[in-house]
C-alpha cells in the first residue's frame, strides 16, 4: 500500500512538476551545488565514510564535474538511488547527472532519452559462489538459486545466459546490494550475480573473502558510465569533457601532484596547455572558466589516481586495470584529443 501510494504520489509529482529546465549548466551555477545520483552504497564506487563524506570511484567523477563547473569539489549534493529509482530521479530533474555504475545500453540511450557521456569503467557480469559449493564454472549452475538485483541489466543477461546454455535456475530478486550480500551469506541463494567490479567490492566487505570465488565466466559487456538527460547538449558536453579530461590527464602524465606546476605557466606540450587552460579558449567554449580541467583533475587526481585510490590493486577491492588501462597500455581508454 505504502509503495503504491508512493508511486501514486510520484505520478502526481510527475504531472505537476514543471519541465526540468533545459539549461542544466545555468541551474547548477545558480544553485551553487551539483546534484549527483550515486548508489546507495557500494564500497569503492560510492559510499559514505564514517564521517558521512561520500567517497569512491563514481563519487570522484561527481566531484570532478563540480570542481570544473563550480570550482569546488565539495559543492556536490549526493543523492543515493537504487536500481529502480535512478532513471526517474534523472528524468525528473531531481539530479543533474547520474554516476551510478550504470550500463550504457541502446534502449536507455535511445528509448529512455538519456545521454551517456562516456565510459568510466568497462565491466562484465560475473558470479560469486562459496568455495565449498565446489563449483568452478557458471555452466555447472543448473538448478541453482541465484540472487540478483532487480531492475538492472544483469537480470536480463542472466535470463539470456541460462537460456542460451539450456540450464535452469531460480531467481531471487533483491532490492539493494546489501540485501543481496545478506541473502547470499545466509545461504538463501547459492550464487550472487552482478557486475564483476561490484562482486569484488562486495567480497571485500565479507568477513572471510577467501572463502568465496568469483567464477571465471563473464557473461556480458557492461560499459558503465555517467549519464545526463537527453536534449541538453551543453550540459552533456561539460560532463563528457570533464570525464575525458581525467582520462587525458593520465595519458599526458598530469597528476594531482604536478598539476599546480604544469598549470602555472605554458609547458612545452601544447595539448597539456590546452587542457589546463594556459593556451586556447576550451573553457570558454564550454561556458566554464579557463581552469575548469585543472580544477577537475586537482579534485581527486586523474583517472588512474582515482582508480588506484578507490578500487585498484592496493585497495581491499583489488581490481586490476585490465580493460580499463589506457590504450597506450593495451586497454580501452581512449579520449578524443583536446583541440
Amino acid at each position: 500500500m505504502k509503495k503504491t501510494a508512493f508511486y501514486g504520489a510520484l505520478t502526481v509529482a510527475g504531472f505537476a512538476a514543471s519541465m526540468a529546465s533545459a539549461a542544466t549548466l545555468d541551474d547548477v551555477k545558480e544553485r551553487g551545488t551539483l546534484n549527483c545520483g550515486v548508489t546507495t552504497g557500494l564500497i569503492g564506487f560510492a559510499s559514505p565514510d564514517a564521517n558521512g563524506v561520500w567517497d569512491g570511484f563514481d563519487v570522484g567523477v561527481c566531484r570532478a564535474v563540480a570542481a570544473a563547473v563550480l570550482g569546488d569539489p565539495n559543492a556536490v549534493e549526493f543523492v543515493p538511488t537504487t536500481g529502480k529509482t535512478r532513471f526517474t530521479a534523472l528524468a525528473s530533474g531531481e539530479i543533474d547527472m547520474l554516476a551510478r555504475n550504470t550500463t550504457w545500453t541502446f534502449s536507455r540511450d535511445v528509448d529512455l532519452k538519456f545521454e551517456f557521456v562516456g565510459i568510466n569503467y568497462y565491466d562484465g557480469q560475473g558470479f560469486i559462489a562459496p568455495r565449498d559449493l565446489g563449483v568452478s564454472s557458471a555452466k555447472e549452475l543448473d538448478g541453482a538459486t541465484v540472487c540478483i538485483q532487480t531492475g538492472t541489466t544483469t537480470e536480463l543477461n542472466l535470463a539470456d545466459y541460462f537460456r542460451a546454455n539450456n540450464i535452469s535456475y531460480e531467481p531471487v530478486p533483491i532490492e539493494t546490494n546489501a540485501e543481496g550480500q545478506q541473502q547470499y551469506l545466509a545461504g538463501a541463494c547459492d550464487v550472487y550475480t552482478t557486475d564483476a567490479s561490484g562482486l569484488a567490492a562486495t567480497r571485500a566487505a565479507f568477513e572471510n573473502p577467501q572463502d568465496h570465488i568469483i567464477l571465471p565466466e563473464i557473461i556480458s559487456k557492461e560499459p558503465l558510465g555517467p549519464l545526463v538527460r537527453h536534449g541538453d547538449n551543453d550540459w552533456g558536453d561539460v560532463v563528457r569533457w570533464t570525464l575525458n579530461a581525467l582520462i587525458a590527464a593520465e595519458e599526458l602524465g598530469v597528476t594531482s601532484a604536478n598539476i599546480e606546476e604544469l598549470a602555472a605557466a605554458p609547458t612545452g606540450n601544447p595539448e597539456i596547455n590546452r587542457l589546463l587552460g594556459t593556451e586556447g579558449e576550451l573553457g570558454a567554449m564550454l561556458g566554464l572558466e579557463a581552469d575548469w580541467a585543472k580544477n577537475a583533475i586537482a579534485a581527486g587526481g586523474n583517472y588512474g589516481e582515482l582508480f588506484e585510490r578507490n578500487i585498484g590493486e592496493n585497495t581491499p577491492i583489488g581490481l586490476a586495470r585490465g580493460l580499463n588501462a589506457q590504450w597506450t597500455d593495451g586497454g580501452l581508454l581512449y579520449t578524443p584529443p583536446f583541440r
Binding site: M1, K2, T4, L156, A159, F162, P171, G187
Partner: protein
C-alpha cells in the same frame, strides 16, 4: 431548533444563487466541481506537454514485447521470452494468491483472537490483548522483513541436508524447512480417475452443507435435533476414501528430494511468500480481532442472559445467538481489512515476492522506462480488484444484515 426557510419569492434573480438557501449549496458545489475539473485538466495538460517536450509519448505497445526476465513463482506458463503483458498477468496471479491466503488466515486469526479477548479466563484474555497491541502497532513492512529475516537466518540452507553428517533433516521424510522456503509433497493427479476422486470430494462437501441445511430445517419445523458432527465427518471422509481405493489410488504424492543445489519436486512454498502471507495475516488479524470484539460487545448482554436462561450452552449461545447478530457489525469493517490486505500485498518487493507491483511496477517499469503507463495500469488493477472485493463482500453483508419484517 426549527430551521428557517426564506419566504417564497416571485421570480428568480441572480443574487439568489448566493443568498437563497435553496440554491446556495448548488452554487458552491458547482464552483467546487469546476475548480476540480480545472485542476485535473491542468495536471493532464501539464503531463502531456512535458512528455511531448521530452520527446516521450504515452504508449502501451511495450506490453507486447518480450519481457526478458525470469520470475521464480509462476502458476501459468512463463519464460523470459514471454511478453511484458504475460509477466504482468503472472504478477497479478501472485498478488491474488497471497491476498487470498492472507485474507483467509487473517480472518481465522482475527475471529479466534477476538472471541478469546472476551474470555472469562484472565490469562487468555491478556494474551490476546498482548497479541492485538503488539501486532497492530508495528508497521506491516517491519513484520514482513522480521519474519523473512528470521527465516533466512535461522533455517538451515539446503546444503545442510546433504551428506552423512547432515545438520538438518526432513520432517517425516516429506517436509523440508529451509531458508529458501518450505518444500512439501505435492499431489499428482493421475488421469481421469484422479479427477473423479476430486469430484467425489467436492460432491461430499456440498453434501455436508445440504445435510446441515436439512437438519436445521427439520429442527425448526419439528423440533427434532438430528446429530450434526458425526454425519459431517463421515460424509467428509468415507466417500472420498472409498473412491480413492476403488479407482486404484489414482492420486499419488510427489515427494521433494535434494538434487543438485536445491530440493526438487514437491510443492515449494517460497520464503518470500510465507513471510508476506504470514506477516499480512497476523498484522491484519489483530485489526479483525478488534472488529470481532466490537461486534460481539455491540450485542446487549441481555441476549446472552436470555439465551442462557433458555438452557443453551455457552458454545451454542455464541454460535446461534451472538455471532449471527454480531456479523452485521463485523462485516463492513472486515471489508476494509480485506482491501487493506490486498493493497498491502504490494509491499512484496521488500522480500522479493514477484507480485504485480514487482513485475509490472518494478522490473517492467525499469526495463522499459514506461513509468506512467505502468503506474496507470497498476492503479487500474488495484482499483478494479478492490472494487470487486467490495462488491462481493457487500453482497454477503446484505445476506447477513438485519432483515426487518
Amino acid at each position: 431548533m426549527t430551521s428557517v426557510t426564506d419566504p417564497p419569492q416571485g421570480s428568480f434573480r441572480l443574487s439568489m444563487l448566493i443568498n437563497d438557501t435553496r440554491y446556495r449549496s448548488y452554487t458552491f458545489q458547482f464552483i467546487a466541481l469546476v475548480l476540480l475539473i480545472g485542476f485535473m485538466a491542468y495536471l493532464g495538460i501539464n503531463l502531456v506537454s512535458n512528455l511531448a517536450a521530452q520527446g516521450l509519448n504515452i504508449s502501451f505497445g511495450f506490453l507486447g514485447d518480450p519481457a526478458g526476465y525470469d520470475i521464480n513463482q509462476t502458476v501459468v506458463e512463463y519464460d523470459s521470452q514471454s511478453s511484458h503483458l504475460r509477466a504482468a498477468v503472472v504478477g497479478i496471479i501472485n498478488t491474488l494468491i497471497v491476498a487470498f491466503l492472507a485474507c483467509v488466515t487473517a480472518t481465522i486469526f482475527g475471529v479466534i483472537a477476538g472471541v478469546l479477548r472476551l474470555s472469562n479466563n484472565w490469562v487468555v484474555r491478556k494474551l490476546m490483548a498482548f497479541y492485538v497491541e503488539i501486532f497492530r502497532n508495528i508497521p506491516v513492512l517491519i513484520w514482513i522483513i522480521i519474519i523473512f529475516s528470521i527465516m533466512t537466518v535461522s533455517m538451515p540452507a539446503p546444503r545442510d541436508f546433504r551428506g552423512d553428517d547432515a545438520t538438518a533433516g526432513m520432517l517425516f521424510d516429506a517436509f523440508a524447512f529451509t531458508n529458501r522456503g518450505v518444500y512439501s509433497p505435492a499431489p499428482v493427479i493421475d488421469g481421469a480417475s484422479g479427477w473423479i476422486v476430486i469430484g467425489v470430494f467436492i460432491a461430499s462437501i456440498i453434501g455436508i452443507f445440504a445435510y446441515r441445511r436439512y437438519a436445521t430445517k427439520k429442527l425448526y419445523d419439528t423440533g427434532q435435533l438430528l446429530p450434526m458432527l458425526w454425519p459431517s465427518v463421515a460424509l467428509f471422509f468415507v466417500p472420498v476414501i472409498l473412491a480413492y481405493f476403488i479407482l486404484g489410488r489414482p492420486i499419488t504424492l510427489d515427494y521433494p528430494s535434494l538434487q543438485g543445489f536445491n530440493f526438487q519436486g514437491g510443492l515449494h512454498l517460497r520464503g518470500s511468500l510465507i513471510a508476506l502471507w504470514f506477516a499480512l495475516a497476523i498484522y491484519t488479524g489483530a485489526f479483525i480481532a478488534e472488529n470481532v470484539r466490537a461486534g460481539i460487545q455491540a450485542i446487549s448482554k441481555g441476549q446472552t442472559e436470555a439465551a442462557a436462561s433458555l438452557g443453551l450452552r455457552p458454545g451454542r449461545i455464541m454460535n446461534l445467538v451472538i455471532l449471527p447478530q454480531a456479523l452485521r457489525v463485523i462485516i463492513p469493517p472486515l471489508i476494509s481489512q480485506y482491501l487493506n490486505i490486498t493493497k498491502n500485498s504490494s509491499l512484496a518487493i521488500a522480500v522479493g515476492y514477484m507480485d504485480v507491483t514487482s513485475t509490472l511496477g518494478g522490473i517492467t517499469l525499469n526495463q522499459t522506462g514506461r513509468a506512467i503507463e505502468c503506474i496507470l495500469l497498476l492503479m487500474l488493477f488495484y482499483l478494479t480488484i478492490s472494487l470487486l472485493i467490495s462488491a462481493v463482500m457487500n453482497v454477503y453483508n446484505n445476506s447477513v444484515k438485519l432483515k426487518e419484517r
